[in-house]
Symmetry: C2
Subunit: 115 residues, 2 copies
Amino acid sequence: MPLADTPEPPYWAVIFTTLRADAGAEDDYDGTARRMMELASRQPGFLGVEHARDAIGITVSYWANLEAIEAWRRNAEHLAAQRLGRELFYRAFRLRVARVERARAWSRNSSLFVS
Amino acid sequence: MPLADTPEPPYWAVIFTTLRADAGAEDDYDGTARRMMELASRQPGFLGVEHARDAIGITVSYWANLEAIEAWRRNAEHLAAQRLGRELFYRAFRLRVARVERARAWSRNSSLFVS
């Protein structure tokens, strides 16, 4: 999964950081995570997502405004996945909603700084 | 590395997402990354950091205010590491500075939602 090409700020970020539960449920987790990515990306106001996981998982999703975040939070299928997260997948998590004020993009080929 | 136990919002997040360059420099990278984590954690206003890496790297550091972020950005040893990042370690990156407005912490043992 690449880096997210978000527009000029301001926009919003949801920073979701997780510790996985010890027990299995790997298949369920991978399927649910994939499905949530797919579903989120079709929500109004969705701007992009970045994800990485080793000792902890970090998923940062980007949104046009707070209303879009709130609508996604209340999506029925997402609510079911949130319940699975608490019951099966995670030992602990942090969820932070933040307003992106400044952003910069750099890539080697272009040596271009944006914004 | 655990999840960051940050205080009640508002505070600030620096979301740094990276694509690594293909070429080696693994040892240099690991040493520099470790040193930067250690150095950042001793800066005034530092609140915590979360990091994960697989296909992409994500490092989210948390700060009390913008002044603390600016001071860290200009730290001499950090400036040298930023140069190494552009010259050696990264193919592309995104750097986003965001104000955390809401935060929630959950853990299985306590089933406690904070804030």
